[in-house]
């Protein structure tokens, strides 16, 4: 079905490890394929033509560095539905960005075509879920995983299914029902069921700490409530970084790295970054005290808000308003994890005319 590079060996003897699984297009790369012309151009792009999303290389490098500093082995894998023919340019791009990674998987569309598996050409859910589960079976089976996707395809659903299979929250029978409702192709379904069974035999682990969905299409974040608090819709890499900092997977040094990249390369201002943090707090994905710490890190690193030079009276007034807001927010509980109602999500998809597999 697909062609994968040999992946890293499983961590030996329960070695502390953390795995970061990244989608490629619209999550790492700013790939444009909205028009036929853009789609056709992709295979001919060189590494230099490819553009990453602002702050994402800095985030990946900081995640690796933070894991190593904690004494954990970091694994970084990329999973793409693009064909392997663009692999050379992608690898060169990752090298250019200074990204160390442990594996990259492409969808072998040519083989699907040659074998007459036409449904596999367009199927995303079956392909990605099978690849994720099989990668976990092959190892490394790190005790913690973080998944990164986008709002263009079915990443929220695929990643949530993956997380629930690992944790055992989704029984084999219910998984089969969901896959059938999604009209997942027969071969992909068999692969998924085999891998799920192998993982079940190895013992369920609630490994997926967070799922980050890059809101590249500006999908309303409320649409993701059904996926529970584990899934964090993020408008930019700074929001993702702040959330990862809160759960201890990103160190303090990573914050100014990401912020600096957004400010220097993408025209962000400190005010906009602060607004991003506040948005995450209001949506219940970041605690107010973490927000305060992140702002403190930014200020200590020399990145100051535009209002920093305001008169003392104005600064005091702003600080008072901020304190009031934090006190008000502190009373709001973080959302509790919820059991995902996949049937409801699929009904909602069907109502909105979204396709399944």
């Amino acid at each position: 079905m697909s062609r994968a590079e040999p992946e890293a060996p499983a961590p030996a003897g329960g070695e502390p490890a953390v795995t970061f699984r990244w989608d490629l297009d619209k999550t790492y790369l700013r790939t444009e394929f909205e028009t036929f012309r853009q789609l056709v151009r992709i295979p001919f792009e060189s590494a230099a033509d490819k553009v990453h999303l602002p702050g994402v290389p800095q985030l990946i490098r900081a995640l690796r560095r933070s894991a190593l500093a904690r004494g954990e082995r970091p694994y970084v894998f990329f999973l793409s539905a693009s064909p392997p023919q663009i692999g050379t340019a992608i690898r060169q791009k990752l090298d250019l960005d200074g990204i160390e990674y442990d594996g990259i998987t492409f969808k072998d569309q040519l083989r699907n075509l040659m074998r007459g598996r036409f449904k596999s050409l367009t199927e995303q859910i079956g392909y990605k879920l099978a690849e994720l589960l099989e990668a976990r079976v092959r190892g490394p089976a790190a005790p913690r995983e973080v998944l990164f996707g986008d709002d263009w395809e079915s990443d929220p659903l695929i990643y949530s299914l993956y997380a629930d299979v690992l944790s055992g929250a989704l029984s084999p029978a219910r998984l089969a029902d969901v896959l059938a409702a999604l009209a997942v192709e027969r071969l992909a379904m068999a692969r998924i069921e085999r891998a799920a069974e192998a993982l079940s035999e190895a013992g369920h682990v609630d490994a997926v700490a967070r799922i980050y969905i890059n809101l590249e299409r500006r999908t309303p974040p409320g649409r993701f409530h059904a996926f529970g608090a584990r899934l964090v819709p993020a408008f930019n890499s700074f929001q993702t970084g702040a959330s990862l900092y809160e759960i201890g997977l990103l160190d303090a040094e990573g914050i100014p790295d990401i912020a600096g990249a957004l400010i220097d390369q993408s025209g962000y201002t400190v005010e906009r970054l602060r607004n991003s943090l506040d948005d995450l707090v209001r949506r219940g994905h970041l605690r107010p005290d973490t927000r305060g710490r992140v702002v403190g890190i930014l200020e200590r690193s020399g990145v100051r808000a535009a209002g920093a030079r305001k008169r003392l009276r104005e600064r005091l007034r702003a600080a008072l308003a901020e304190w009031r807001e934090r006190r008000r927010r502190a009373a709001v509980d973080a959302p509790a994890p919820v059991a995902i109602d996949y049937e409801h999500i699929l009904q909602d998809w069907s109502r909105r005319g979204l396709r399944g597999a």
Partner: protein
């Protein structure tokens, strides 16, 4: 970049339409906005649609003033009302201008309480833009009428100051270097209208900074004869409501006739593009809001029935007014006539 405080709780369709309007601007411009109101309700509404969080912040305000409340009493009783918090933010330098579709009286009073009048200005004026005929190419399709309700009665000096402020606004916003100013009156002769209007006419004629075209009668309001029409608040407000009422009655009568007769229906179908154009022109959505002039800080008052497009246009007007430095322009113009 301008930072606009938006009263999220003000207006007949608030906060839903206000939040939608802000979200829309966040996706199509680089204007920074602060939504002032019930933070939890605001976020729930933001969550339901597309928006850019980088350009939106939220300032919690525990109460709001209803459209039907008595403004003075409501402002006294609700010290943390969204319009008060928004104007305080502007006064404190946390935002550059405020936009509200809420209770007009409360909006004017909140501005009066928290903003300083420009030196030399006796009273602030609420302006309104209205559609009118144009007389020459490039003339703005909207005229400016002030005051439409910030005052009730005015003296001649105040009316002359309104003319200066309106001219400065038209100069910056409509790019009319010598906006034609008219005084709303009951006749074209300079002796008409009573003591105040006669004196106002005399003063306006003697001001070199104002391109005064004389008295303007009611039937000339919708023509392009004057770009800025000056009136005391009572009269201006009656005129404004009359213009809105005529537009609504005309639309309603046409729809009723079309419902009753197939000939009317056919006629309206044939005229549909013209009717749509007329509706666009008379629709307050297209111009969003109008300023309260005379304060050092800027307040744009949007129509109480504003929906998202009107709110987003009002925000854009506010940002443009900030960028074009309206308040300093008015201060300079007023200083010249002192």
């Amino acid at each position: 970049m301008p930072r606009i405080a938006v009263d999220a709780m003000g207006g007949d369709f608030a906060p839903e339409e206000v939040v939608k309007g802000v979200a829309r601007v966040s996706l199509e411009s680089d204007i920074e906005m602060v939504l002032v109101g019930n933070a939890d309700r605001i976020q729930a509404l933001l969550d339901a649609g597309p928006y850019n969080p980088e350009l939106i912040s939220v300032r919690h305000a525990s109460t709001a003033i209803g459209m039907g409340e008595e403004p003075r009493e409501a402002l006294r009783a609700k010290r943390d009302a969204s319009i008060t918090v928004a104007t305080r933010m502007v006064a404190g330098g946390d935002a550059d201008a405020v936009v509200s579709a809420g209770n007009t009286g409360a909006c004017v009073l909140a501005a009066a309480k928290n903003f300083k009048l420009i030196r030399g200005v006796k009273k602030a004026a609420l302006a309104s833009v209205y559609p009118r005929q144009t007389e020459y190419p490039g003339q703005d399709v909207f005229g400016l009428l002030l005051d439409v309700g910030a005052t009730i009665r005015c003296d001649a000096v105040e009316l002359a100051q309104f003319a200066v402020m309106g001219s400065a606004y038209a100069r910056r916003i409509s790019k009319q270097p010598a906006a034609r100013v008219g005084l709303l009156n009951m006749g074209s002769e300079e002796t008409k209208g009573g003591e105040v209007l006669v004196e106002a006419h005399r003063r306006l004629r003697s001001l070199p900074a104002v391109n005064f075209v004389g008295n303007v009668e009611g039937n000339e309001i919708a023509t392009g004869r004057a770009d800025v029409i000056v009136a005391e608040g009572l009269l201006g407000n009656v005129v404004l409501k009359l213009l809105e009422g005529i537009s609504e009655v005309a639309t309603s009568l046409a729809l009723q006739a079309a419902h009753e007769s197939w000939r009317w229906r056919l006629g309206m179908a044939m005229l549909s593009s013209g009717i749509a154009r007329m509706r666009d022109l008379t629709d307050f959505k297209t111009y969003g809001g109008a300023p309260i002039l005379g304060f050092e800080s800027l307040c744009i008052k949007a129509h109480g029935r504003s929906t998202a497009p009107a709110i987003s246009n009002a925000i854009k007007v506010a940002a443009k007014a900030v960028r074009d430095r309206i308040a300093p322009e008015i201060a300079d113009a007023v200083a010249q006539i002192r």
